[in-house]
């Protein structure tokens, strides 16, 4: 029983810790610059379909931002500057990306209407 309580607590702390990292490393900046996270995720989803492909595409772009690697249309960069490469270790970056996907995953919102 005690072990179970410790396990639940560990998982909860871990999740909160991940969310905290995402908020600190990514979303704080996104919020300041009014970047629509949900729309960005949907663009990735519409192009890459699977979580693994989205994760890899995000890593590739964040580590070496280029127009060709970006999910945004090229016209977007006429108005907004190209972001700088993130100097975050890849495991941390992957962890944040997974949290990002998990946070904005629209599939979770899907329900079947009961007639």
């Amino acid at each position: 029983m005690v072990k179970s309580v410790w396990f639940v607590m560990a998982v909860t702390i871990s999740i909160f810790a991940q969310d905290a990292d995402l908020q600190r490393d990514c979303l704080s900046c996104h919020q300041t610059q009014q970047i629509p996270n949900s729309l960005i995720y949907k663009r990735y989803l519409m192009k890459y379909s699977t979580e693994t492909a989205i994760e890899n595409a995000m890593i590739k772009y964040l580590q070496n931002p280029k127009k060709s690697e970006s999910i945004m249309p090229s016209a977007f960069f006429l108005k907004f500057p190209m972001k700088e490469a993130l100097q975050v270790p890849e495991p941390v970056l992957r962890q944040n990306i997974r949290s990002f996907i998990d946070t904005f995953d629209v599939k979770k919102k899907l329900k079947i209407k009961v007639h």
Binding site: K42, K111, K113
Partner: protein, 382 residues
């Protein structure tokens, strides 16, 4: 119905019905397969249409910012979306097998691609249970049709069978009649001969026995003619004819002498108008059969104390009697083999058939005129 006739009819019916059934079964199977395919295609069309509707809804859901996204559902059609790795995302059902191997006997599946990947969906699977109601209705219709066709074709086959075995039945009936007639025809003269010989033996040979001897003579002549007619009928197409210049006047007079006994018995008066030196190119046996049959008929069917008119000139032979005559219906059929207009007298019904054949062989014109109870006139024009 004779057993051989029944056997032929049954064999015909079996072959006819089996081949008809085979043909109809094949046609029905092709029709059933084609229509079933068409009915399933119609049902498949509904899931394809539903797939397009769901794709359109997925686009709307992808762009929506609502807290809850209601997945499009249908009362009869299930659907599910899969990502690019064919991993299940969401749906109204979740097949237990992999997407690549999905196949079912009772369910129709339709897998379509979704592009772009709205909600991450790269594949959309739609499925519906096959509605067997129209297929069962089709099966019933085909079975009913086969049953109806079976009944109609059985009746038709039976009718056709009877029609086909009719000539055989007629031939057998004719054969039976021929045998009956032959035995009767042979029995009468043979009995006459035997009875009269017995009378001569009993009462001794006297001048008074002349009647018995005449009856024996007539009976023997009858037997001889029966033999000649039957031989002629049997060998007609096979024996070699010797065509020669034959004096018909002489031959006719000779045959009149031959039939004298028969004429005397019936007390028939003869009126002869026979020109001499009427020469015909004809086989003697053919001429004999022609004259003998006409004279024999004219005597046989004449009345007692009747008249026999025999005329021969360079263009024709005419033999007329004052006998029982024939109806118009009988006249039209009397030349057929074994056809007898009157059954009161003996005979096979081959006499006029032989006359008709001889006329045909030599291109003679055979004319028969008859009135009931007045007599018959047979004219052969060459």
């Amino acid at each position: 119905m004779l057993s051989s006739e029944k056997r032929s009819l049954v064999r015909f019916l079996v072959i006819y019905l089996a081949s008809t059934l085979l043909l109809f079964s094949l046609a029905s199977w092709i029709f059933y397969s084609s229509t079933k395919h068409h009915l399933l295609d119609k049902q498949r069309d509904t899931i394809m249409y539903e797939a397009e509707r769901i794709k359109s809804k997925l686009r709307g859901l992808h762009q929506s910012n609502d807290a809850v996204l209601y997945y499009p559902s249908h009362s009869k059609i299930d659907s599910a979306i899969y990502d690019l790795d064919k991993k299940y995302i969401f749906g109204t059902f979740k097949p237990s097998v992999k997407l690549d191997t999905i196949l079912s006997k009772d369910t129709l599946y339709y897998l379509s691609k979704v592009e772009p990947y709205y909600l991450g969906a790269a594949y959309l699977l739609t499925a519906r249970k096959i509605d067997y109601t129209p297929i069962y209705a089709l099966q019933k219709q085909i079975l009913f049709f086969l049953l109806l066709a079976g009944i109609v074709f059985s009746a038709l086959g039976y009718f056709l069978g009877r029609l086909f075995v009719a000539p055989m039945r007629d031939a057998i009936a004719r054969m039976n009649l021929f045998i009956q007639d032959t035995t009767h025809e042979l029995n009468t003269p043979i009995s006459t001969i035997l009875t009269n010989i017995e009378m001569i033996e009993t009462f001794g040979k006297h001048v008074e026995n002349m009647d018995e001897l005449k009856r024996i003579e007539i009976a023997s002549m009858t037997l001889s003619r029966i033999y000649d007619d039957l031989t002629y009928l049997n060998l007609n197409h096979h024996y070699h004819r010797k065509i020669e210049n034959l004096n018909m006047g002489d031959l006719l007079k000779e045959r009149m002498v031959y039939f004298t006994s028969m004429l005397e018995v019936k007390k028939i008066d003869t009126v002869l108008d026979i020109q001499d030196d009427i020469i015909l190119n004809i086989d003697k046996n053919d001429a004999l059969r022609l004259i003998d049959n006409l004279l024999s008929n004219a005597i046989k069917y004449n009345k007692r104390y009747g008249t026999l008119n025999v005329t021969l000139d360079k263009s024709m032979l005419c033999i007329a009697d004052t006998g029982i005559g024939m109806s118009k219906n009988d006249l039209s059929e009397v030349k057929q083999r074994f056809k007898r207009a009157n059954k009161s007298e003996g005979g096979f019904g081959i006499g006029l058939h032989i006359v008709s054949q001889v006329c045909e062989n030599y291109d003679f014109d055979l004319q028969i005129e008859s009135t009931i109870n007045e007599g018959t006139e047979v004219k052969i024009v060459w």
